[in-house]
């Protein structure tokens, strides 16, 4: 990928923030160059927009299709009788310099260049065109998102980069992604896990605006409380590092790094330089900046889920509530593997447990093999006693509750209302407790039931995870961030 000489736009930072605000919260949107061959994807994406949408298209074959969508079409941006806050440009690459020039003349807030075929192709023509639009944009002080990207998603205002995305209320999770696919997938999968985006941006080749710009913007955005990122690389890593450090002081950043950073060949003379490989240094920079690191879409979603829904806690000791002996063994393994401790409880807790815990087919050490005691979750009084004991135990910092989907589905067939008893008990505990609580909803053979239980748990601010391992990873990562915020090692 060719590198531009600089990545910063030439506007000073406050002006940039205001312009980005205008782009992320537009009143008007213009789509340039949408067409049937791409199923009018952009106009369809903008069909939920609460403000005004305009189309710019000069091909007479395309105009009837556009007008059939109910969108007014104009031959150029200048012809639109309105100010335009945000433009999505889908024209072929040879035409893009013209559109960029028009955006400058029109004084738009920002333009997303969906158009690809630039430096990422490695061709002379692609590189030349990229330089041309970059120079134009910089000289004109235009905020250019991309090229080769999917641009902005604002859930509240209905600005979308995929027509499958949900709109309505604004969420609280921001997303900054170098890739369009991962931006969209995060938003779509996230919705199934109680994660709603505030604003998301897919930023592509980053010729004018880069990750640090969006990070600085979302750091100041009141709607955004947690920021997810997918990055393959940045042009100015020192600037990114500074922006990350500033941001994590206030909000968690969850970073999914894709690909291996290239290390240039250079002469080195010291042990230090030999050991300072690009991945080692990247990892160090993320730790230093207090960034939560993840390795996949699912891990990213899980970590964000824990950060969104759990009461923050700074201790590594967990109280584990499992349903059977076999699960008690492996749940302990899973949490210990993530460096969490599964301590013995206090004497007082054991005394209280001995009064009601069923030790026929069960045991209580930590983990608490509780199936028989709490009727797989359906003896709410016993479940509540158990949760209270863990909540009061000074050896326990966080609580993990296994929700056995198979047992639950079976019981629900006999007694449909039984799920509510379980959920109400958990919800009441969640309201009272100052310790992070996560649920593990498994095994996965009844996907419909799992999805239903998951959404009901999320409604009660209890994040469910699909496996012990996933829950342990997410919890560990969230705790490390909360500890970082408290200045703990």
């Amino acid at each position: 990928m060719a590198r531009a000489a600089e990545t910063r736009s030439d506007l000073p930072s406050r002006a940039r923030q205001q312009r980005l605000d205008r782009a992320f919260n537009p009143r008007t949107v213009a789509v340039v160059g949408d067409k049937r061959a791409i199923a009018y994807m952009w106009l369809r994406s903008m069909s939920t927009f609460q403000g005004k949408v305009y189309s710019v298209q000069i091909d007479p074959n395309e105009i009837p299709g556009i007008e059939a969508l109910g969108v007014p079409n104009y031959p150029s941006l200048m012809d639109i009788p309105d100010e335009i806050d945000y433009v999505v440009c889908a024209v072929p690459r040879q035409v893009s310099p013209r559109i960029v020039a028009d955006c400058i003349e029109k004084g738009v807030g920002a333009v997303t260049l969906f158009t690809s075929g630039f430096a990422e192709t490695g061709t002379e023509e692609g590189i030349r065109l990229q330089e041309e639009i970059t120079d134009l944009a910089r000289a004109g002080g235009l905020l250019l998102i991309g090229p080769n990207c999917m641009g902005i998603y604002n859930r509240r205002l209905g600005v979308r980069n995929s027509w499958e995305q949900a709109t309505g209320e604004g969420g609280n999770v921001g997303l900054i992604s170098q890739s369009g696919t991962h931006c969209i997938n995060f938003s779509l999968v996230g919705e199934r896990h109680g994660i709603r985006c505030s604003k998301a941006v897919s930023f592509g080749n980053a010729v004018v605006l880069d990750a640090a710009d969006y990070l600085e913007y979302l750091a100041e955005d009141d709607e955004t409380e947690i920021i997810g990122m997918y990055l393959e690389g940045a042009k100015d890593n020192r600037r990114l590092f500074r922006a990350l450090r500033e941001t994590t002081r206030k909000k968690p950043v969850v970073m999914w790094k894709g690909g291996v950073t290239e290390a240039g060949a250079r002469a080195i003379y010291s042990h230090t330089a030999a050991l300072a490989t690009a991945p080692a240094v990247w990892d160090a920079a993320m730790r230093q900046a207090g960034v939560v690191q993840t390795e996949s879409l699912d891990e990213t979603i899980d970590a964000v889920k824990a950060l969104v829904y759990c009461v923050p806690g700074n201790g590594y000791r967990v109280g584990l509530v499992a349903m059977t002996g076999g699960q008690s063994v492996v749940i302990t393994d899973a949490f210990e593997r993530e460096g969490l401790e599964v301590p013995l409880l206090s004497e007082g807790s054991y005394e209280k447990l001995s009064e009601f815990f069923n030790i026929i087919g069960g045991s209580y050490q930590n983990p608490l093999d509780s199936g028989g005691t709490i009727g797989m979750g359906f003896l709410p009084q016993n479940l509540q006693k158990l949760l209270d004991i863990l909540d009061e135990d000074e050896n326990v910092d966080g609580i993990v509750m296994e929700v056995g989907i198979g047992f639950l589905a079976r019981r629900m067939r006999e007694n449909p209302g039984i799920l509510d008893a379980l959920l109400d008990t958990l919800a009441a505990h969640r309201k009272r407790s100052r310790k992070p609580l996560i649920a593990i909803a498994h095994p996965g053979h009844l996907e419909d039931v799992t999805a239903m239980v998951r959404s009901r748990l999320l409604e009660r601010n209890i994040p469910p995870f699909g496996s012990f391992e996933a829950g342990a990873k997410a919890l560990r990562r969230a705790i490390d961030y909360w500890r970082f915020r408290e200045g703990m090692a």
Binding site: T272, A273, R287, A489
Partner: protein, 230 residues
Amino acid sequence: MSIVDVIDRAKSEGRAVLTEIESKQILEEAGIATASARLAHTAEEAVKAASEFGYPVVLKIVSPDVTHKSDVGGVKLDLESAEAVTAAFQEITKAVKGQQPDARIDGVAVQKMARPGIEVIVGMSKDPQFGPVLMFGLGGILVEVLKDVAFRIVPLEPRDAHQMIREIKGFPVLEGFRGQDPADVEALEKLLLKVSAFAEAHPEIEELDLNPVFAYKDGVLAVDARVVVG
């Protein structure tokens, strides 16, 4: 000689790698405690230096062309007398000339033999993505095998120095192991912060190894040092 002078002289001679003596000079200027070394061109000079430092002493070859001194017989430890120093001087120069006949030899460095401590490495290098990066690791000369290291981006805050030391697998060794004295971790933290400040103040320094650093229960000492300028 000031830091700038030492660097300028090396550059004017077309050298990027400073000698151990030069490296230690610069570091001492920056307030970093090293086992200071004096350059001797003859055995007599070596004996003179040894008697000033006090025995036992260590002799090491000084040559811009020798990267791993011990590999070519370029290091003699634990020299207790003038006779031992004289003999060591001859042996070192002969061994190095034998193994690397084309090596330019500036002389032999004499330094007081440091009492043994826990060997660690502190280094700096410039990462193409992030700029100056600091490294801390256990193992001193074994670090490339053990690779038990942690990194932080310059400039370091106190929290960074504190955390990177504790990140290494061998941290329990620093806390004292099997009757061995613990290391002065606070002094190690201060050293890291000093090296960070030094790197920030001198962007012409491209790489730096303090290796080994001996960590004692009451302080730390850089026993060998290599500075690379660019």
